[in-house]
């Protein structure tokens, strides 16, 4: 635990010291030959698109309501000589349900295996937002939490201890007020640390109190790891299998686990109607 806290501190100090020299170039839509892929996930209405625009220089429409972004938007930026592709995912409350927008987000984090997944969380509604954060941490270690709307939390007289949060979650937590551009530099620093592997996370794992469930997950995960080489999220896939998720069952059956599912290629409505 102590070594862990130390890495976090290193990250924190680096974010503040080495990154005023950071060279950020907003590349807009010019995405070719990127070094890293970064996904932006989060609940609806937490400022994902605002952050996306801040980093890429694009003008993706930002809406103060759920459902504004239902497809993946992509953009790019370079940071200290490395080229990053940034993918703005639809806002979702959970990765467990079945609507198309949530599937897009889930499939990208799961199958697209981005180098970094930034989960944007609303500081004024932290508990509810953490549900998604914890689910993402089940899928990937390479995550950063952007604790956005920290200014609004202050106005509401809420204080969020981001160090305690980072300790509990085991991934970097960056407080932000994205609308004012505050915290963008620090976010970039954290993204770079995780992307380059300088920061190794020990993400929080959901505690399944039920022993039978835990055994089932571990057994299946073991088998999955044997079958699919370096599947980083075997436990999550196991869980989805236990839940009877049709898409994941299909992916295992056809051995397409680990292949990116492109947005837009949905099973037709009529097909799913028949299901």
């Amino acid at each position: 635990m102590s070594a862990h806290a130390e890495t976090l501190n290193q990250c924190g100090s680096c974010a503040s010291s080495c990154h005023h020299t950071a060279q950020l170039t907003k590349l807009g839509l010019k995405i070719r030959n990127w070094d890293y892929t970064v996904a932006l996930a989060g609940n609806p209405n937490t400022g994902k698109s605002t952050i996306f625009n801040q980093l890429t220089g694009l003008h993706q429409h930002v809406g103060n309501w759920a459902g504004k972004t239902v497809t993946r938007a992509e953009g790019a930026f370079t940071l200290n000589g490395k080229k990053y592709k940034l993918v703005d995912l639809p806002g979702t409350y959970s990765l467990l349900s079945t609507s198309v927008d949530e599937e897009i987000a889930r499939d990208f984090v799961l199958f697209g295996q981005p180098d970094v997944t930034v989960v944007v969380a609303d500081a004024t509604r932290l508990e509810r937002n953490l549900n998604l954060v914890l689910q993402v941490l089940e899928i990937t270690d390479r995550a950063v939490v952007a604790l956005n709307l920290i200014d609004e939390a202050e106005r509401n007289d809420l204080t969020v201890d981001e160090r305690a949060l980072a300790r509990d979650l085991g991934v970097p937590v960056v407080p932000m007020a994205a609308r004012r551009g505050a915290g963008v530099k620090e976010l970039l620093g954290a993204i770079e640390m995780v992307a380059s592997g300088q920061f190794s996370a020990r993400p929080h794992r959901i505690k399944y109190i039920d022993q039978k469930l835990e055994t089932a997950i571990e057994t299946l995960a073991e088998q999955l790891r044997g079958e699919f080489d370096d599947l980083p999220n075997a436990r999550w896939v196991a869980l989805r299998l236990l839940e009877g998720d049709e898409n994941i069952i299909n992916a295992v059956e056809t051995r397409t686990l680990g292949k990116v599912k492109e947005a837009g290629a949905f099973p037709s409505l009529v097909e799913s109607e028949a299901r």
Binding site: N64, T159, D161, I206, Q223, L269
Partner: protein, 473 residues
């Protein structure tokens, strides 16, 4: 143990049976439990949460049973009133510049080059004039309407509207989120159709896709605002004209909501039977709008993008209209043949042949309906009129009204029915394509395309018949 996919899936199925149905609940509970503990450790709240109370007070009013709807209608009316009253003068100025000064300059230039009549006609009277009309008719109202609408959106008002409408959608057997996709449709129906992805159930999603066309899109607001101003507003005393015109546009928008609900109810009781599913709708906090960013966003992202699309569509449409009006088959032009062929049917609906041809030409983009109507009307009566400069003098609402009534033979019924038909007709080709992309179903794409036209024909026929029977026209 052999590790192959089938063995893994079998094992999963076995575990699933052992554990029973409450797996999902157990999982959700575990996640909530952890989230609650972590949040409790990280967040501490102070004494005052005044901001929240202020928001809650506001929410009680805007979503209240009594004030919710009247407030909604009032806000919409104010937005349109500002748009119509404000767009008048800039529209006239732009018209004078583009259809007057620039148009004449272009013709002078062409004749100084001794350009053949068909070339200058095709380029200036066709391509240029259609484009100029789209710009002068659409730019000023859009430049006022979009920032106002975006401001309401930024404030967080739209989810409140959705909240108010949720009850009605549920009663219609549709998904409450359909109110949100309808809000998207008010910008662009193609975007609205894509946004139905937020609806989980395929049944309710299809209903939302089919009825999205009843949300008036960017391309149609312009038509409604203009026709509302010159045919409805002008019946009122000048002081009230803009207000009455705004009210007529709001009435059409409300009619659109009523049609959305009726058609949704119809579909959910016939072809797409089922119960409405429930969902939780978050009312986002009121956020102070960023005025400059809103202006930038709505002018660059919406006004210019919509205008660009309109101009891109108008230029070829202008060329097509000019060719149709100048290529003759026998005695009359192609356009004349088409118009006179469709005229009896059009008149039966309280419209006319020109309007129906315009709606065919405008399938790629609703934005060009009014310019097409004006050009066709003038070309039909070309002998004498166009050459005497009436065409270039069309620079304010009054003159447009004059041309339509005197040259086109329009009555107030034509104006009202054009507004109704603007609400109720086929989606534009982009939206149809999007519906196909999202449903991959020939049947539902056809239903979504044809249902609104059939409704439009029925409604227009009804109003025309009533008007005739009561002797209003």
């Amino acid at each position: 143990m052999t590790n192959n996919p089938t063995a893994i899936l079998d094992a999963a199925a076995r575990f699933r049976r052992e554990m029973g149905d409450n797996l999902h609940d157990k999982l959700t509970e575990a996640i909530y439990n952890d989230a609650g503990q972590i949040a409790a450790r990280a967040v501490s709240s102070g004494e005052h949460s005044s901001n929240k109370n202020f928001g809650q007070f506001f929410d009680r009013i805007v979503t209240s049973r009594w004030f919710g709807f009247p407030l909604m209608i009032l806000l919409l009316t104010v937005v349109f009133w500002l748009t119509i009253a404000g767009a008048n003068i800039p529209s006239a100025m732009l018209g004078e510049l583009l259809q007057g000064t620039v148009y004449n300059l272009l013709h002078d230039f062409a004749s100084s080059l001794n350009a053949p009549w068909w070339l200058s006609g095709f380029l200036i009277d066709g391509v240029y004039l259609a484009t100029a009309w789209v710009v002068s008719v659409m730019l000023p109202p859009m430049a006022i309407f979009f920032p106002l609408f975006t401001l309401l959106e930024d404030l967080g008002y739209l989810p409140r509207v959705a909240f108010n409408l949720d009850r009605l959608f549920k009663r219609a057997g549709a998904h409450g989120k359909q109110a949100l996709t309808m809000m998207m449709g008010y910008g662009c129906n193609a975007a609205g159709v894509v946004s139905t992805r937020i609806i989980d159930s395929p049944r309710e999603r299809l209903i939302a896709i089919i009825t999205n066309n009843f949300a008036i899109c960017n391309g149609r607001w312009g038509t409604l605002i203009l026709i509302g101003a010159i045919f409805i507003g002008s019946t009122a005393p000048p002081a009230l004209a803009s207000l009455i015109a705004a009210t007529s546009v709001v009435a059409i928008a409300i009619l659109g909501v009523i049609f959305t609900l009726l058609v949704s109810a119809f579909l959910s009781k016939t072809w797409l039977k089922g119960e409405a599913s429930s969902f939780s709708l978050e009312l986002p906090p009121y956020r102070p709008p960023q005025i400059w960013q809103t202006l930038y966003k709505s002018i660059i992202d919406r006004t210019f993008i919509v205008l660009k699309r309109a101009v891109l569509m108008a230029a070829p449409a202008g060329a097509v209209i000019w060719l149709m009006s100048n290529v003759n088959i026998g005695e009359a032009s192609v356009a004349a043949h088409l118009v006179s062929f469709l005229n009896p049917f059009g008149l039966l609906l309280g419209l006319n042949g020109v309007i129906l041809v315009a709606y065919i030409v405008a399938i790629p983009a609703n934005e060009i309906v009014v310019p097409t109507i004006l050009m066709l009307t003038l070309n039909m009566a070309k002998s004498g009129l166009a050459q005497t400069g009436v065409m270039s003098g069309l620079d304010d609402d009054l003159q447009i009204r004059q041309v339509l009534t005197e040259v086109g033979g329009w009555t107030i019924l034509t104006g009202v029915n054009l507004m109704l038909f603007s609400l109720l007709h086929n989606p534009c080709s982009t939206t149809i394509w999007t519906i196909w992309q999202e449903t991959k179903s020939f049947k539902w794409t056809t239903v979504a395309t044809l249902l609104p036209v059939v409704l439009g024909i029925a409604v227009c026929f009804l109003t025309a018949s009533v008007a005739r029977l009561t002797g209003l026209i």
